[in-house]
Symmetry: C2
Subunit: 137 residues, 2 copies
DNA sequence: TATCGTTATATATTTTAAAATATAACGATA
DNA sequence: TATCGTTATATTTTAAAATATATAACGATA
């Protein structure tokens, strides 16, 4: 068969104008993104779990933390459970029954994780701001 | 009512051991993430659309590009359409009918976008590698 | 020992997203 | 003018994810 190359002809990059000019005027374009830790291909510590841990620490309860985030208890518990299994030692210590029916507290390891994630998030925020600046310059 | 503070007692960060030691031994933890451009809260240029554009440029067809990515034509067309509407000028020029039934070609603006995204991805990859290094040090 | 709200778990339901299917219009070419 | 594969679009079907509901176990406290 004959070779038709009309549509195979590729467009190539020639000039290098400002990227900003490609977008419609008036709309503000920014670079955004998401970060997470993964082990063996599995995400296990993104923005959701971090916030959940922070709220568990504040409320003393998985249930209360989930409600604050409008997350189902089931999902919250699964996040906690997955996280506990990935770490050398549990980061959330649950107590079923007892005063107020029970509750959950964080270990110091959880606090270290949270703190580390905060610092990482700050560096990422700086990266994103720089990229947005580059985009709009 | 009386104030019960047992569960409200918050765990606080005391020492600052290596984060690496928090994870089970043997599992390799790395920092990963995703980047995209957004305008007015709408993601409109992430990894998916970029790859789609690259493949449209190579195949000359939205349909063929979608098949290569195992993406439905509908989704591919919607990505292209959204992208075209966000830009000052269309980045994909479709032709319905004609030789081989039609096809699509990229504008030079599309090529600039692709090139920009490649460079941004490289910077992001470096950022992620550095974060992974910090995590494991 | 009865009460309480929480943890832990299973199951059912709803919602959402994705994929599959169908069909018309299109225009260069033979 | 008939053919072709693509674009463009609507509709249906399927799959996945999220949510809702239900229930038992738990243990400090009154």
């Amino acid at each position: 068969m004959g070779i038709k190359i009309k549509h195979a002809r590729k467009t190539e990059l020639l000039m290098n104008d400002s990227i900003k000019n490609l977008f419609k005027e008036g709309i503000q374009v920014k670079v955004n993104g998401s970060l997470w830790l993964q082990a063996g291909g599995i995400h296990f510590f993104g923005p959701g779990p971090v916030e959940l841990l922070e709220r568990i620490n504040e409320t003393g309860s998985i249930n209360a933390a989930a409600k604050e985030m409008k997350m189902s208890y089931k999902k919250a518990w699964e996040l906690v459970n997955t996280l506990n299994q990935q770490m050398k030692a549990p980061v959330v210590i649950p107590q079923t029954g007892g005063e107020k029916g029970g509750g959950s507290t964080l270990t110091s390891e959880a606090m270290q994780l949270i703190q580390y994630h905060r610092e990482m998030r700050q560096r990422f925020a700086a990266f994103l701001e720089n990229e947005t600046r580059l985009l709009n310059q």
